[in-house]
């Protein structure tokens, strides 16, 4: 990628993949033993793409996400963001955590939470504008002055998403964000996420253990399996857009993909 350095930042962004993992291996040191969590992970995430990562518990999905987010260092291999090697949390990448309650600042209002990522870098008018836009995107305009602990789980998770969106990131990394929500909230959140992607062109890396969710949301699915976790297979999802909760899920192709992913994981999985 030598000549890429000569191009401007913007075209570099469009040209190079949002993320590239090359033989990434992550280990944890525990007292005197080393445990390999994930091994030789290699894949690409293209700009504007929605990549879902599925796998049974314990395969290191969260670890992979944290490594991509710059929170956990890789023991070997490299992670590239827009062609540049990752050293610590990268600028254009935001993580949305599963535990929304502890990821939000419970003592700040919703609006103040959404502003958290941008308040130190922008002037007041710009901040207000972005907070307003982000809250509109997730449908929480009326709750700007509430405190997170006054809201339901789904709404708190939306606050976290709004906080991420306010940064206008190139990539959003999401760690089973809807796992703790009830089925109906989950369905409407999934559609909201797809709407956001359509409107903003952000790339998404979305972890889930729900196979149907992975097929519904994804442009591509990466199956993580084994201990240490390895990429078992990557599926291209050729389902039509825009997706619809009722009709898309009934398409024969949907069921085929679901079956195939199920097989790839190799275990009875809901």
């Amino acid at each position: 990628m030598g000549s890429a350095e000569k191009r401007s930042d913007l075209s570099e962004r469009a040209a190079s993949p949002a993320f590239e993992c090359r033989l990434v291996t992550v280990e944890f040191l525990h007292k005197f033993s080393r445990k390999r969590i994930i091994e030789d992970i290699s894949f690409l995430v293209r700009s504007g793409e929605f990549l879902t990562i599925v796998g049974p518990s314990g395969t290191g999905k969260t670890t992979l996400l944290r490594t991509m987010g710059g929170l956990t260092p890789a023991a070997s291999g490299s992670v590239l963001v827009h062609g540049k090697k990752l050293e610590g949390p990268p600028e254009d990448v935001v993580i949305v955590f599963q535990d929304y309650s502890n990821a939000l600042l419970q003592w700040r209002t919703v609006a103040a939470n959404v502003a958290f990522g941008i308040e130190r870098n922008l002037d007041r008018k710009e901040i207000e504008q972005r907070v307003h836009d982000a809250l509109n995107l997730v449908g929480l305009e009326k709750n700007a002055e509430d405190y997170p602990w006054q809201l339901s789980g789904g709404m708190q998770q939306r606050v976290q998403i709004a906080r991420a969106l306010a940064l206008r990131p190139a990539v959003m990394l999401m760690d089973e964000p809807f796992a703790a929500l009830d089925a109906m909230t989950k369905a409407s959140m999934q559609d909201e996420l797809l709407r956001v992607r359509d409107r903003t062109g952000t790339s998404f890396v979305f972890i889930t253990h729900d196979i149907e969710e992975a097929v519904y949301l994804g442009d591509r699915i990466a199956v993580l399996k084994g201990s240490p976790g390895r990429i078992e297979q990557i599926f291209d999802i050729g389902l039509p857009a825009p997706r619809d909760q009722l009709s898309t899920r009934q398409l024969p192709k949907f069921l085929e993909y679901r079956y195939a992913v199920h097989q790839a994981i190799g275990r009875g999985h809901g």
Partner: protein, 268 residues
């Protein structure tokens, strides 16, 4: 604009949280019975009406208000210093858990020594003056605040620290925006525990050394066998303690209104 502003709401909440006024019956009955039984003015159990007269005497002789203000000032200043230093050191120790583990047993050992026992040490080292009094109050009040703060700073949820890292916060910003607000409930709990300790130590110093204050007034009255004044001052101290606690409770409720109800201080 709303017609009931936040202050009216706080007032209503505070009043609603008070226990039923009927609960004062035992005290009223006790005082009433005492008043009726002691018509022959026993020197050991003077009737409550005499207590009031005794206090009025003290007030007229110009000794009550200076004493009251001396005690209050020591308490106020001592608490402010204890909060400032206790919070600062507590945050520092909490953020470096290895430091806490290293000086932990030392802190435990020092904590086992009851603050009143420190008073004679302070008298020996610093003499019989206001500076000694203030120092010992600060030393006594600082412990609960320091320990609570450091414990809470250590226990800031790791996910919040991940968020701080993920958003690339500087160490200063992380302390200012995440750690400090997180430990506010714990600091308030520490202050709540420190209040009675500070009051006890202040009074103890005054009684032991007769340095200006309500305690000095009390022990002076006892030595002169002015029993109505002793009882009157006791009631005064009780009301004083009640007032201090109430003011703090209101202050705490206002400060904690942004926090989920669960984090509000629990008894014991």
């Amino acid at each position: 604009m709303r017609s009931t502003g936040p202050w009216q709401q706080y007032f209503k909440l505070s009043v609603a949280a008070l226990p039923s006024a009927r609960g004062l019956l035992p005290l009223v009955v006790l005082l009433g019975v005492w008043q009726l039984l002691q018509t022959d003015k026993s020197p050991y159990f003077p009737p409550p009406s005499d207590w009031w007269n005794g206090l009025m005497l003290l007030s007229k002789s110009g000794r009550l208000y200076p004493a009251l203000s001396a005690t209050t000032m020591t308490l106020l200043l001592g608490l402010v210093l204890a909060i400032a230093v206790g919070t600062g050191v507590g945050l520092f120790v909490g953020v470096f858990p290895r430091l806490r583990r290293a000086i932990g047993p030392l802190l435990e050992f020092l904590r086992a020594i009851p603050p009143p026992a420190i008073v004679p040490v302070a008298i020996l080292f610093l003499g019989y003056d206001e500076r000694m009094k203030l120092t010992v109050v600060v030393l006594a009040a600082i412990w609960p605040i320091l320990l609570n703060t450091s414990s809470a700073a250590e226990r800031v949820h790791p996910l919040l620290l991940d968020v701080a890292r993920s958003f690339r916060l500087s160490a200063v910003d992380r302390m200012r925006l995440i750690i400090l607000p997180s430990v506010v409930p714990a600091i308030l709990l520490g202050i709540r525990v420190a209040l009675p300790v500070a009051i006890v130590v202040t009074l103890l110093v005054e009684i032991l050394t007769s340095i200006e204050g309500i305690g000095a007034l009390m022990i002076g009255a006892q030595r002169n066998f002015q029993s109505p004044q002793v009882y009157g001052l006791l009631v005064l101290i009780g009301l004083f303690g009640l007032l201090v606690n109430s003011i703090f409770a209101v202050f705490e409720a206002i400060l904690l209104r942004r926090w989920p109800p669960k984090t509000q201080s629990e008894n014991f």
